[in-house]
């Protein structure tokens, strides 16, 4: 079934900087990604929507080399990067904002941020970028000498995003960047995403539960279910789709609600 997917996408964006073809990824015996193909155009923002456990994180991990797919290929700027170690991929210019707030707990906030610039050759520009990140997230500057392990959940999330920015990537993989952030910061994050994309031309691949925000920020969207892409389109059109509205945007609240109520077994008590 997965094998029979066409090698080219129905709507293929021109000049993809990242193209994923037919990847299949396993956790032990569990097949999490069942033949996914997607393209991210240069300078674009692409989003992947999907329920919990659909495999969004797994796709990002496969792209950045943290997991090896059993099949398929991942090409970045024309070169095959599948099967490489993640550090190699990162040095090629892909920054991954992982889920799960992966900070270096014993390093200070500042050292954490500087580690983000580890692979950069233009050492001179690092100081400026540090200022830029502090500008986005002033709280990080306040806490710059504190060990990162003691930051609050949201602060760690900011740190992880800021650290990825420090790498000056050409492609950013964002895995639920708004997770656990306050509403004001959620808006800010999407603002940053747009700004980086427009000002520095950073390409973005965005995974979000906050589908509304994601679809508004992105140009193109894929919908993932159980490890397969079931729909893909321009975001503006996805926003109009009834299914998307119902399942990802939570519009038609009452309808869904009523159905759920009815479906739920009330065995409790």
């Amino acid at each position: 079934m997965a094998e029979s997917l066409p090698d080219t996408l129905p709507v293929s964006p021109a000049d993809p900087v990242l193209s994923v073809r037919n990847i299949e990824t396993y956790y032990g015996p569990i097949m999490a990604i069942r033949g996914v193909s997607l393209d991210v155009p240069k300078g674009g923002i692409v989003t992947v929507l999907g329920a919990n456990g659909a495999g969004k994180t797994t796709i990002l991990k496969t792209i950045s080399g943290v997991m090896d797919p059993q099949k398929g290929s991942v090409r970045f700027e024309g070169a095959e990067i599948q099967g490489r170690d993640p550090d190699w991929v990162a040095r090629r210019g892909i920054a991954h904002v992982p889920e799960g707030r992966e900070v270096f707990p014993f390093l200070t906030v500042r050292e954490n941020l500087l580690m983000g610039a580890f692979a950069r050759s233009d050492r001179g520009a690092v100081a400026g970028d540090l200022e830029m990140v502090y500008g986005y997230f002033p709280i990080l500057q306040e806490r710059s000498e504190q060990q990162a392990g003691y930051l609050s959940g949201g602060q760690q999330q900011m740190l992880v995003i800021g650290r990825a920015l420090m790498a000056r990537p050409r492609l950013m993989l964002l895995d639920e960047p708004s997770l656990g952030l306050s509403p004001i910061l959620v808006k800010e994050i999407f603002g940053i995403v747009r700004r980086l994309n427009e000002e520095q031309g950073v390409t973005m691949l965005l995974v979000e539960q906050n589908a509304n925000m994601a679809l508004q920020a992105a140009d193109y969207g894929y919908v993932l279910e159980l490890g397969r892409i079931v729909m893909d389109d321009e975001c503006s059109r996805l926003l109009e789709s009834d299914d998307i509205k119902e399942f990802y945007l939570g519009v038609k609240k009452d309808a869904v609600r009523g159905k759920k109520r009815w479906r739920r077994k009330k065995t409790w008590r």
Partner: protein, 299 residues
């Protein structure tokens, strides 16, 4: 004067433990792996130096340098070809693997160099600085002890600076704290780990070479000294370089004081294990050693 003599000996012995402990601590600091073969790597380093100096007849300094280099490369390769294959597996796998590797090293050394104790000459071997002399004897500082103390100071300083101030040093700490995130930063984690194994092996070899004139002879079992060095590292707080040396000093001085001043019956039952008694005492007061970096998990 007598007390000074005992203290100097204790300090030197403590530095020995500290030097060996540095090897553990380096690897732990950069990878959180615990290397149970550390003593055996030191043993191989000593035999490498022995081969170059006593058998091949190289001048001491040349043989020592070459021995250090060879051991360093060996450590790098050990990680690159053996340990790397289980990178990311639980700590325990690494512990058992290094124990097994230690078996192999001891057995191989026994096969190559035999089980007999050996020694090699050192230019400063036997030199002493006499501080005081009377009819019952003298108070001296042995050149071998002095070099050990100096060597320890230099190495600790250099390594401390390396971890604190160099980019690769911070990256090593980063990869020990969160391998996945380190990969995401583009840190070549595998290379970094092999590198630290190389450095650690070289440091062990330095320890061994400085140690050789002090311990008269060595054999393939000399690596068991590392057990006490382990205790030293733990007292200092595993992962802290100055801590390792401080822990070594605490144990070394305790041992010598116990030898010198415990009266008869206690001398018999406590002196031989005084180092471990002091270790227990320290751990009971500070269960994480003196300078450990431990955090309570933020939830």
């Amino acid at each position: 004067m007598e007390l000074i003599q005992v203290l100097v000996a204790g300090i030197a012995q403590g530095c020995v433990y500290g030097l060996i402990a540095l090897g553990f601590v380096l690897i732990y600091k950069a990878t959180e792996q615990v290397n149970f073969a550390q003593g055996d790597i030191m043993m191989l380093g000593m035999f490498a130096a022995f081969t170059l100096i006593a058998i091949a007849g190289l001048p001491w300094w040349l043989g020592a340098l070459a021995g250090i280099a060879i051991t360093g490369v060996f450590g790098f390769c050990l990680d690159a070809f053996v340990l790397r294959r289980i990178i990311g597996q639980p700590q325990f796998a690494v512990i058992i693997l290094t124990i097994a590797v230690g078996f192999v090293f001891r057995s191989a050394a026994g096969g190559v160099w035999g089980a007999d104790p050996v020694s090699f000459d050192t230019p400063y071997g036997g030199l002493v600085v006499t501080l005081d002399e009377n009819e019952t004897g003298r108070t001296v500082i042995d050149a071998a002890d002095l070099t050990i103390i100096l060597g320890t100071l230099v190495l600790v300083g250099a390594l401390y600076a390396f971890f604190r101030f160099t980019r690769i040093g911070v990256a090593m700490q980063a990869s020990s704290q969160n391998q996945l995130a380190a990969y995401y930063m583009g840190i070549p984690v595998k290379y970094v780990i092999s590198l630290i194994w190389g450095i650690s092996a070289a440091v062990s070899c330095i320890a061994g070479i400085l140690l050789a004139p002090k311990i008269a002879t060595f054999d393939p079992d000399v690596g068991f000294l590392a057990i006490t060095a382990f205790a030293a590292a733990v007292i200092g707080g595993f992962g802290s370089l100055p801590g390792a040396v401080l822990g070594g000093l605490i144990i070394g001085i305790t041992e010598q004081l116990a030898q010198a001043y415990l009266p008869g019956e206690y001398a018999r039952s406590i002196a031989p294990i005084s180092g471990f008694v002091i270790l227990l005492a320290v751990l009971l007061i500070r269960p994480d050693g003196l300078f450990a970096q431990i955090q309570r998990k933020k939830v």
